[in-house]
């Protein structure tokens, strides 16, 4: 017999990951971090009011406490891990990890040292981000990331017309065919310039829908926000093995 206790503050149970969201309005399509069908397990979302995309990308230390409080609320509801829908939330990784007792992966960028370890140090890693004007090695270091020896080539989507208007300017519609073409072109250019590139990391939470197209085009390992969240959740959802031997 297994006895379960009421979790005070919880209205539902079984939520695997709690995801803190930017205060942003755009269509979050299947594959997006903020689309619930992107996962093989249930997730629960919580918007951080006032934390717009541009505020987050430009750095928002005044939001540390608000993020920590939101994460605590998600933890009280019983989630087993905390994540977010913006790689730039790396700036809140420490504040949130200190606030809760469950594992926290606020940013896709936390994968960088792990990805680098699987490659030879001479192989460049391409990072495709929403906004390369705000993402540099200093930002990664301040966020607690130990820079790998591999060259990091950071490219942004901020000047791509559909990505810019749909994601950064929130025009209210999103054409996924156009963003596929824009993301694939960015990746192909990266590979053309750095033929020994070992892997590509998609920073932005709105890019995982295009990860497969990027991989099909360049034939490299491609990591994204969903691969980080899947890994985070794997530690709290160990499998029962029933196969043969």
């Amino acid at each position: 017999m297994t006895t379960y206790q009421t979790r005070r503050g919880a209205y539902t149970y079984g939520q695997a990951v709690g995801i803190l969201l930017l205060d942003a309005k755009a269509p979050f399509i299947p594959g997006d971090v903020a689309n619930a069908t992107s996962y093989d397990y249930p997730v629960i979302y919580k918007t951080v009011e006032g934390l717009s995309t541009s505020v987050c990308l430009n750095g928002a230390p005044e939001f540390h406490e608000k993020l920590a409080a939101a994460a605590k609320e998600l933890a009280r509801e019983g989630v087993k891990g905390i994540s977010s829908d913006c790689g730039f939330m790396l700036q809140f990784q420490e504040a949130v990890a200190e606030a809760v007792d469950i594992p926290v992966c606020m940013s896709s960028l936390l994968q960088l040292p792990f990805i680098a370890r699987s490659l030879d140090p001479s192989q460049p890693i391409g990072v495709i981000t929403a906004d390369s004007t705000n993402l540099d090695e200093g930002f990664l270091t301040r966020g607690g990331i130990k820079l790998p020896p591999n060259p990091l080539i950071i490219r942004g989507m901020q000047d791509e017309p559909e990505f810019k208007t749909a994601v950064l300017e929130e025009k209210g519609t999103l054409d996924s065919d156009l963003i596929t073409a824009e993301t694939v072109a960015c990746a192909e250019k990266l590979l053309a310039e750095y033929p020994t590139m070992g892997a590509i990391l998609l920073e932005c939470s709105m890019l995982p829908p295009y990860a497969k197209a990027v991989q099909d085009a360049v034939g490299l390992p491609v990591y994204d926000f969903i691969s980080a969240i899947d890994y985070l959740s794997a530690g709290m959802r160990p499998r029962a093995y029933t196969g043969g031997y």
Binding site: Q93, E94, A97, D101, P103, F114, Y231, G235, G244, Y245
Partner: protein
Amino acid sequence: MPVYKTRPAAEAYGYCVGILLLDYQVPFVPGDVGNADTYDYPVLFKVVEGATYPRVFVGDPELEPAVIEAAQALEAQGVKAISSDCGFFLNYQDVIAKAVNIPVCASSLLQVPFVASFLGKSKSIGVITADSSALSNHMIAKIGLDNDRKLVIKGMQEKPCFDKQIMKEGDELVTEDIERETVEVALEMQRENPDLGAILLECSMLPPYSKAVQEATDLPVYDFITMIDYFQRGTHQKAYDTPRHYY
């Protein structure tokens, strides 16, 4: 129209991850790295000739050519990433990564810094290994964990069933025995380290017991399979084919 090229060294196609195996014979139960039914995708195994575990534990440099040859043979067969069935293959991680053009995750221990990055600064990370006496300072340095993160290591080598059935290559493996011993070690680790934030199982024969360890400790538990799944994922991106109106 896609055009596919023959891969001259390939006997068959579609293998996702290639796994280097110790020269070692015990029953690999479901959940073990050396059990093909552990995975949701096809894997290709290759025994590294002469790779007995005492040699891999110390990183015998004379074994390097055989390790590289086996890894390159797997790559030539078309696998998209390479792993192994012993965390002590960490000793060969760098030479394999240099020798092939696909991602290499030869050791479960590579996950330690990644998992640590999920935890608050005051939390420690625990490693349960087959043999803690063999996990040298040299190897611990290779893990690449920040110096200010507390690392706790415990071995299974003094547990009688693990010693008899696994270390001494017994003919029989009783999963209830190994599960009980692994949970004992994990609970002892948690008792001694109230700041423990996550557990990593180093040994490729321990993933069958991750679930029991997680349930007993209520901590996140990572193992060889969580790592192999991760690299499979990165080398095999999925289509989100949910109907368009699910947005």
